[in-house]
Structures are given as C-alpha cells and as structure tokens.
C-alpha cells in the first residue's frame, strides 16, 4: 500500500501553515485548483498531512474527501513524511526478475512497516522505486545515498542494523 495512513504525529509549524494559507488565498475559487494545492502542500510539508488538507478544504470550500481521493490516486503524492533514513528498494524490471520483491518484503519485515510508510519513531521510511540505473547490481536497495547491490533477502536485516 503506497498510501497507508501515517503513524507519525503532525509536526507542521505556524510558518508552514501560513505559507499554505497565502497560497490558498491566491487560488481561491479557481477551477481545477486541486492539483496545484496538493502539490504545494507536499512541497511545504514533504507529504500530505491530514491537518494541512483540512486547512485547504476549509479555505477552498472543497471537501476533504475529494482532496484525499485525488491525492491518493497519484503515486507521487505521499501520506507519510520521509524518515531520518530513507530506504528504497528498486522494483525496476532487472531488479524485479532478480528477486527485488523478496528484498522489499525482507525490508518491510525488518522495519515492521509496509512499503510507503514510516516507522513509529520517524527513523526509517520505506519506498519502492522504479529503475535507479544500477541494473548491473540488481537487485538494488538504497539507504539514503548508499547503494547496496546483488542482494539476497537475508542481507537486508544486517544492512539496516547499521543505521539503527
């Protein structure tokens, strides 16, 4: 589930909310404003927190349900913030045929979260990605900017331990 509900508490600041409100003022009543509004929220907060969507729903007189419906349709919107460490597993074709699905499963099990979400303490977020251009090393996992290649599922746990 790419968009499962976040477990991390909302940490939006007054400054972020003010920035959002200014943006909403400029787009009030504009037809087709839903996408730009969602994009702005994601760029301000890094994801689509419920609190921010409520602000947008109220200011724009659009239902919260509609905003969420559109947001959850597009894979590029996230309902989870990014963790201190960002783990991504490549699910591109080459990685996939080399067993990336099992690698992802091992990462999900190790972190105790599903793909697309974040650990309760906010330390790790996990995402499946498309090809990262390291097909020669398939299957590939990245933790922040470190690349780990030719992985087997049993190697995933020890690698993640290094960041715990």
């Amino acid at each position: 589930m790419p968009n499962c509900k976040t477990v991390v508490p909302y940490r939006g600041t007054q400054e972020q909310e003010d920035r959002l409100r200014r943006f909403l003022q400029d787009h009030k009543g504009q037809p087709g404003a839903v996408m730009p509004v969602l994009q702005e929220i994601q760029s301000i907060f890094g994801y689509l927190p419920e609190e921010a969507l409520i602000i947008a729903a109220e200011e724009m007189d659009i239902s919260l349900s509609e905003l969420y419906s559109v947001g959850s349709f597009y894979a590029q919107f996230s309902f989870n913030p990014k963790g201190v460490h960002q783990v991504s597993v490549c699910l591109g074709t080459a990685c996939y045929v080399k067993g990336a699905a099992e690698v992802l499963e091992a990462a999900e099990k190790k972190l105790g979260i599903c793909n697309g979400s974040i650990t309760l303490d906010g330390r790790f977020s996990l995402d499946a990605t498309r090809c990262i251009g390291a097909c020669g090393l398939a299957p590939v996992m990245m933790v922040d900017s470190d690349v780990y290649g030719r992985l087997t599922p049993d190697q995933v746990g020890p690698i993640l331990d290094k960041y715990m």
Partner: protein, 586 residues
C-alpha cells in the same frame, strides 16, 4: 416550427425507425421504442459516467462498442443492441465485475433485490471463470444508520455521485487507484468519524449489498417478546405511501389501513400515528413563527423536522443555528408525548414503555439517540427507529399476507390526524401545513387551505403570501445541494424570506434513505417522488380536517395536559436545542 424547438434526430435501432430530440442518449432513445438496455453504474442525472460498460451497444461505423448511457444519438445512426458481440461483451464485463464481488448472496441483506444479482440472471452468467479474489467481509459499522461492506462494492460510483452531487456532503470518494481503488472516507476514516449527515441516500443508490441500513428489527422483536414492556409503534406520514412497494404493490399505493392492521398483528400494544405528532409540530412551529414574526425574532425561521438537515446545519452551516425552529421533529414529539402525557394518563411507568417509530429515514436512527431530546423524566423519547424497509421485512417474517389484510385504524389516543399532517412526507408539505394554520391565526376564518406554489417537484420553490399586516415570504428546498444553494443566497442577501422549509432528501421524506429501494432502471425512468407524493396529496383532500389546529385529539391534549401552544409545558416537552458540531476529527 417554434423558435426554440429542439432539433429532431432520426436513427435506426435494431431496424426500428426512431425519432428523438437532439442530445438524447442511445439508452433513452432505445427506451422510447420499447428496447431496454441493461445498465449498472447509470443513475439518471446523478451518475452518468459510462464506466461499467454493461450498457454497450454496436454503432455502425464506430471503432468499438459504445456506452449507450452517455452516447448521444446522431442523424442517420444505426444502432444494434442485441448482437452476439454485444451479448458476449456484456457477459464478459459482468463476469469480471463479479470476480471480486463477495458472493454470499444467500445471507446478503440485498439478496432479493440486488441489481447485480438480477443482472447476472438476465445476462445468464452460469459461472465466474475468473474466480477469484473472494474477499473476506470488510464490515465497517461505525455509523449509527448504515453498514458498509466493501467486499461487495463494485465501484459503480452511484453512492459517491449521490453524496457529492445530490447532497454535496461529499464524505465518501474513490480512494487510491487501479485494483486498490475502494470507496471510503478521507484518510480511510470510518464513516462514524466524519461529517456524514446520515441521510442514507447512498444506500438507496447502491445496487448491491455494499451499503445497507443498520437493521434494528431484532431489537423490536425482543421488545415485543418481553411481557414487562408496553410497546407502542407509530409510522411516519411518508411510510404509508411507500411500504406497499416492498410488498408487491404499485408505486404510490396508500396502504394506511393495512399498515395499521399489520402493526397490530405484529403484536404492538398500541398502534399510533406520527401524523398526530406532525399536527403538534405545526401548531408549535406555527406559534413559534408568529412569535418571531410579531416580536422581532430571528428570521428566516427554518424548519427542523429533518434530522439529516439538522446535522448538516450543525456541521456545515452552524451560523444558521439561531434560525432553526426549536421544535422537535414529529418523531421526537411523538415519543415525548407517549412518555409523558400518555404514560401518565394510562398510569404506566415511562421506563416500561418502548417507543418504536417506523420512518422513511435513516437519519432518524441517529436522531433517537441525541441527548438534547432527553425528557425531564430521564427517558429518551424514542427507543427504536426502523425504516420502511425494515418494517416490510418484519411483516414478511411474521407471515402476514399484506394484500389480504383488512383495513384497520390507529388507536385514538395518539392516532387522529389532519390532512396537513399527511402532506408532511412531501417537499413543501410542512410549509403548506404551517401556512394553513398561520393564515387562520393571522386572519381568522375563511382563509385558503391550498397553497399550490410550495407544492411540486422542483428542488427550490418560493412564494409570497399576503396576510393581514404583512406579506410572508417563504421558500422550500429539498436535497442538501438545493438547501446549500438557497441558503447561500440568503446569506449573501440576494434573497429574503421569513420562513424556510428544508428537507434533507430530494423530494422530501417520500424519497428518504429508508424508503424502498428501486432499481436504477425504475429510478431513472419513473418519477418516484411524483407518484409517491400524489398519494399523500390525495389523502389530504380526502381528509375531513385539513388544518392541524383543528385536530380534536390535539386540542384535547393541549387542554388537559400541555396548556397553551408555545407555553411552558409545551416547550419543556416538545422543543429542543442545537449546537455547532466539529466537522473534522484529527
């Protein structure tokens, strides 16, 4: 030719010559020559998205099959609705739709009137080859009025279109995409957590068992089986003209007499009528309105009979709360009178009385538990509220052959009513009933009884009536999108009224969320609201007394017990209050 005449288009459907106005869809054009094309996601004026592909037909020259529910006719078009290609395509589509529909038809609440089941029968689906991600049940029953089970949802969008377009409450939408698409609230919260108003219009729009009304009939049976309980029942005005539909009778049949007999034979100790309480509502509301009019109270006054509307107002338009009439709804007035006046008169402890109401409405299930309704003696006025559909299932289960039942009467203590109460069930009815009484109070005898301007099927109606001293400007809206439109104009100062009637459901209670479900085929091509409301207006004409304040039982109860309309005791028992509600929970 008239100046604005719509251009006519000639085409051939299955070899028949058809001439219809430009803009007509193939579906409607076919219908006009007696050809029925099956549909599933289509709901006229509500959900016209051509998504389910069940209604596909062949159009000569078109690259592929077209969805007839949204495809407009054109000159010279040649259409075939029943070819091998069409039949095969429909079958395959339906098979795929069924492949992830949980098929527990035998135990499903919708089993005898499920549109998917009927379609599977009609299209002769003998087996589902793509079996199947048979989903486990996904019961979500956080709301007081309905139960959701997405494992039976076929994603037709009829519920979401109703919620967004007809009601503009917009609490459910399709979330996510592709195979993960599912109908839910924002952030997949439960329905009970969000700003749903409990109108139940989504339930009557749903073709399957994915949305069903919470069944409270077991509670009623338990009360009937308990010898220590004195169980009284009363049906709402709109129930008598719709119940018959669930029991094999034509739309718009008034079954009041059989209804009274059926309730008695089910074993209720007293069979009363909410119509009686509706007369109290008019007398109280009329008094309140005159008081506001003459003593500078908050105007426009807005009616408070519809609990879906009340919840909408508290959630979405809290600034209008001072405009709401403080009168309880007829259901709550009924329960309040039973547990005070009737209990005292009969010498029964009100805690031993179980009040059951039969309602056209799902929001009534929410209304009965509102704390604001609680009486001074500690009782909530109504204990169980069941819908028209639930009553029909009780009648069937009890083995009552409804069409064989003789006509009966309601028990007199709270069972005598006027024509004014009868029309409560249709949009404009409460307004007309109130005007009948208000006109007489202001002008004395000889005033008109019929106020035709507030009748009819339009979503918003307006009228002005010259009464002694001043003109009273009134407006009527039904369906919450119409209510919003009307109230926006009032707030902007574009329209000025003294009195507004609002009903949460389009057409009023006769089209409530608890009313018989009719398949889209019937809903799209028959005017349910018209047929059902005509039955109420003809009851009104047949009734001897047509003004609420003329009701002899009502007069007696005021004299014996309540005192003056709008007086202290009447207020204590028959009025309530409202408070703004939080829309979001985070």
């Amino acid at each position: 030719m008239a100046l604005n005449a719509v251009k006519q288009v000639n085409l051939k459907i299955n070899g028949l010559d058809v001439c219809v106005p430009e803009g007509t869809t193939i579906l409607e054009a076919a219908r006009s020559v007696g050809i029925r094309i099956p549909t599933l996601c289509f709901l006229k004026n509500i959900n016209e998205i051509g998504a389910c592909r069940i209604c596909v037909v062949e159009v000569e020259g078109a690259r592929s099959l077209v969805a007839s529910c949204v495809y407009p006719v054109s000159e010279g078009m040649v259409v075939r609705t029943n070819t091998e290609k069409v039949r095969h395509s429909r079958q395959l589509t339906l098979e795929l739709i069924m492949s992830n529909h949980r098929m527990d038809c035998l135990t499903c609440a919708r089993n005898s009137h499920c549109e998917l089941l009927a379609l599977a029968n009609e299209l002769r689906i003998d087996a589902v080859r793509y079996a199947n991600d048979q989903l486990p049940p996904q019961i979500e029953d956080s709301a007081l009025h309905l139960v959701r089970d997405n494992s039976k949802c076929i994603l037709c969008r009829r519920c979401t279109a109703t919620c967004h377009k007809v009601q503009q409450v917009a609490v459910i939408s399709p979330n996510e995409r592709g195979f993960k698409t599912h109908i839910a609230c924002a952030y997949d919260r439960d329905l009970g957590e969000v700003d749903c108003v409990s109108c139940g219009q989504c339930v009557v729009a749903c073709p399957t068992g994915a949305l069903t009304v919470r069944d409270d009939t077991e509670k009623v049976w338990a009360a009937l089986d308990d010898p220590a309980k004195h169980v009284v029942v009363a049906p709402a005005p709109a129930v008598r003209v719709t119940l018959g539909e669930c029991l094999g009778m034509p739309i718009g049949t008034n079954v009041e007499g059989k209804l009274a007999t059926a309730l008695r034979r089910l074993g209720f100790d007293r069979v009363f009528d909410v119509d009686t309480a509706a007369d109290f509502t008019i007398v109280e509301e009329g008094t309140e309105f005159l008081d506001r009019l003459q003593n500078g109270g908050v105007l426009p006054m807005i009616t408070s009979c519809s609990p879906g509307w009340i919840r909408y107002c508290e959630l979405h338009q809290p600034d209008l709360i001072p405009n709401l009439s403080s009168c309880k709804s007829p259901q709550q007035m009924f329960g309040s009178l039973v547990k005070t006046y009737y209990a005292e008169k009969e010498g029964i402890d009100p805690r031993d009385i179980v009040v059951v109401s039969v309602m056209p409405c799902t929001a009534k299930k929410y209304e009965v538990q509102r704390e604001e309704m609680r009486l001074a003696n500690g009782c909530l006025p109504v204990d169980i509220s069941i819908t028209t559909r639930e009553l029909s299932s009780m009648i069937k289960r009890a083995g009552l052959l409804f069409d064989h039942l003789p006509d009966g009467e309601f028990d007199e203590a709270l069972g005598v009513s006027t024509g004014a109460a009868a029309i409560f069930g249709a949009t404009g009815g409460v307004m007309e009933a109130a005007l009948r009484t208000v006109a007489v109070k202001l002008a004395g005898v000889g005033m008109q009884v019929d106020f035709h301007e507030v009748r009819g099927l339009e979503g918003i109606k307006e009228a002005g009536y010259c009464l002694p001293g001043r003109t009273v400007r009134v407006a009527v809206a039904s369906g919450l999108s119409n209510a919003k439109k009307l109230l926006d104009r009032v707030k902007k100062g574009e329209a000025h009224y003294d009195f507004i009637e609002i009903m949460g459901c389009p057409g009023g209670c006769i089209n409530g969320g608890g009313q018989p479900t009719q398949p889209a085929d019937v809903r799209s091509f028959t005017d349910l609201v018209k047929l059902r409301s005509e039955a109420l207006y003809s009851q009104d004409v047949r009734t001897q007394l047509r003004r609420s304040h003329e009701n002899p039982v009502l007069q007696q109860i005021y004299q014996e017990y309540l005192g003056k309309p709008g007086g202290h005791r009447a207020h204590e028992i028959l009025h309530t209050h409202y408070a703004p509600m939080r829309k979001y929970r985070t």
